[in-house]
Homo-oligomer: 340 residues x 2
């Protein structure tokens, strides 16, 4: 006899078993369990009773193969430890909860080749849709995405060339806008603190836009400081100390993310620096957990939840679209910049 489960334990229960106990055909059991087609109340009851009694759990693999329908939506993000991604997932979940669709999460670890494998694995389960963070993928990944024949949405970024649909913000525009807000408030000796990883495409685009914005205003970017590793209070603190040691006369620090900005804020407050007069600060993302710092950090809402929701809606609509939905990031003044 063939092995039925990894341990060759009891063979798995089938519709047939339920059908026998209930005294009906497999087809009738199938109809009852899926609430499809008309079944008399009496038979329905008997079937339910039999299924419950046996502890029957349907085999979705067989069902999916027969019906060619899989109620899964693949979601590929770089990581779960950076809070931005769970926020997007939250938005996706909000929408999919109203449908029979279920998200299945995969992580790329910021590695395009690994991402390609994850996408391949997901597609091999024939999901009903795929949502992938970012616009930068390997050629092979793009080819798979283009040919999958399912709704395909790239999220969080619209600066680039989507394979099909995209939902996100323009990070270049976000950087440019932030430059404008800072210059308008009279800051002129401006430093940028961010990730050295070229794999962090969105942060790189913000920096690019930020530089453009400053250039347009005729203000140079006075200094930069980069870190390898992960963002956090410690990282923000260390970078802040470093950049001010190098260039003590900076009057503004623009961080790639609120987490680092928070570390910088705490450091500067300890040093007795007057914020926002002596030095102004801004971050990115508008992390809610940080409400409760001594000062609210000036930041820009990256619309993560909205993006997740809209992407899920596109997938749930179940149409092959190449629509590009662009959200506008929202500047939050907070307490760490001079009043505008």
């Amino acid at each position: 006899m063939r092995g039925r489960n990894p341990f060759d334990g009891k063979p798995q229960m089938t519709l047939r078993d339920v059908a026998e106990v209930a005294g009906v055909s497999e087809m009738t059991v199938s109809r009852v369990l899926r609430q499809r087609g008309d079944v008399s109340a009496k038979t329905r009851e008997r079937v339910f009773a039999a299924a419950r009694q046996l502890g029957y759990v349907p085999n979705k693999i067989a069902g999916a193969l027969a019906s060619n329908r899989v109620n899964l939506v693949g979601v590929v993000i770089p990581s779960l430890s950076n809070m931005v991604f769970p926020d997007v997932l939250g938005g996706i979940g909000d929408i999919l909860d109203e449908t029979p669709l279920q998200p299945v999460i995969g992580t790329s670890k910021y590695d395009p080749v690994h991402e390609e494998h994850v996408i391949y694995e997901m597609l091999s389960w024939r999901p009903s849709g795929l949502i992938v963070a970012g616009l930068e993928h390997t050629e092979a990944a793009r080819a798979m995405m283009a040919n999958a024949g399912i709704p395909m949405v790239e999220v969080m970024d619209v600066d680039g060339d989507p394979v099909a649909a995209a939902v996100g913000i323009s990070h270049e525009a976000a950087g440019r806008q932030m430059a404008g807000e800072i210059v308008r408030r009279g800051y002129r000796r401006i430093g940028y603190l961010g990730s050295s990883s070229i794999a962090d495409h969105r942060a790189q685009k913000r920096l690019k836009g930020f530089r453009q914005g400053l250039a347009e205003a005729g203000v140079p970017l006075s200094d930069e400081c980069f870190y390898a590793g992960s963002s956090g209070f410690g990282t923000g603190r260390a970078m802040t100390q470093e950049i001010l040691a190098k260039t003590p006369d900076l009057d503004f620090l623009y961080y790639n993310t609120d987490m680092n900005a928070a570390g910088g804020l705490l450091y500067l407050l300890e040093k007795g620096v007057s914020i926002p007069d002596q030095i102004g600060l801004a971050g990115f993302n508008c992390f809610e957990v940080l409400n409760g710092l001594p000062l609210r950090i000036a930041s820009m809402d990256s619309r993560r939840k909205d993006i997740g929701r809209r992407a899920a809606e596109l997938v749930a609509a179940n149409e092959l679209t190449d629509e590009v939905v662009r959200f506008d990031p929202v500047f939050l003044e907070g307490d760490t910049v001079r009043r505008g």
Copy 2:
């Protein structure tokens, strides 16, 4: 003709298509693509070329049905926005990355009934194993878990009655140990600040153990403060203000999590309270992101990564075990308690 995908677009590509292009049997293609059995180098090359040329992606649904093997491991956690769970997932991923197994994440939203549905959904895909956070589940969920016939591991908690295997810490012991550390350092007017949710079983168990530990030392718990909603700096700040308004002479505050403790710490520092002399603080979890606060919060490492790794190892071993692995939480003194 039957619909082949949700849009009745191009029919899905099959092994047969690759076989035709390569001029061999389906069986040979299958063997090449799975690297199973002996195939001549020449045919292998031709098959690979054909598969690449066609952009063939195997159908895991059909493969799983035929082979009765599914390389997925279900992981059910309450939420992704609380950082403790991504940490466990990280540990799981570390181990599964060395195997053909892939984690599939589901969230219960702290709702046992929802959790039951998620477990049911997962089991219906016939995964190779299941990892579920916590020991508290509905009767139906426990029954499903007991009968699934696959490696089953409950994680993060060992205070209770596991369905099968369990990997975690004793939160009661953690609470008791913390009580000991606090009393030993001379604090006597102690307050607890935590979640009002009875669904947060692990925090409740820590509180229970904390009370026991204090009682054993003959010290009463002087006051408590509970919040609904999510933890964060704002929540910690508000609770701290509230409990000290009620009971101003407290000399120690024990928080359910570091996130809240951090909010409390910042609030007290602003008020000019002398820490750890006038008031001591402790949290739980040892969140790394918080390194970089003005003071390191006394805390207890909940061994999240170790737990994830060990749980994944049990699943990867592919044996039906009911082993209970108990990790010891580790007290971290930090800067917010008097030196021991």
